[in-house]
Symmetry: C2
Subunit: 116 residues, 2 copies
């Protein structure tokens, strides 16, 4: 994420003016895509929705496996992706694991789209 400015090939063919100077760089795009990929899955969207609309002290995994009709390992896998991308936080209380939304993470993810 250092020099994001591109060479801006001055096309001689006469079709196009020049590459716009403030276009998103390669590294920046890669990082943004990684977070957006975490959200761009129907089952993970539903997981986020359930957690968001659930109790503020967290939603446990047993409340997530039922609605999605997926196996427990699969749900755990999706939850890991959401935690690794900074969207969900995991807290273990006793035998159970509770997931909560990371405060402004969804807002920040949305801004990756609006602030191109």
């Amino acid at each position: 994420m250092t020099a994001t400015s591109l060479p801006s090939s001055t096309d001689e063919s006469g079709c196009c003016p020049t590459t716009s100077p403030q276009a998103m760089g390669e590294a920046e795009a890669l990082q943004a895509a990684q977070i957006l990929k975490a959200v761009a899955d129907p089952n993970r969207l539903r997981l986020l929705s359930i957690v968001k609309n659930g109790p503020s002290d967290g939603t446990c995994v047993c409340d997530l496996t039922g609605p999605l009709q997926l196996g427990q390992p699969t749900v755990s896998h999706h939850l890991k992706i959401l935690v690794d991308s900074g969207l969900l936080a995991r807290e273990k209380r006793g035998t159970w694991a509770y997931y909560t939304l990371v405060p402004h993470a969804l807002q920040k993810a949305a801004e990756l789209i609006t602030e191109l």
Copy 2:
């Protein structure tokens, strides 16, 4: 894949209350994920960025193949995905094709994340 409302298993184990009632449904999640998938790719993010910061009357393909260091068929393929998902509009003028942002499409895509 017919009845999207699930039995909402009233778990007897004492761990969890019940499935939250206003969670996103299966069909809704699938549709949202389809649009978000279109955005969740580094090269497509850069395409959107270039078009957004480009001239208001559209950016032609020859201005898009250069910065991305991808072959012309690959760029065309990504552009098709963005058009099919309603984010970009294509207009052919003469030999060239010009792409523009569909007015509030990016905003709407972002709201798919914030309004879960």
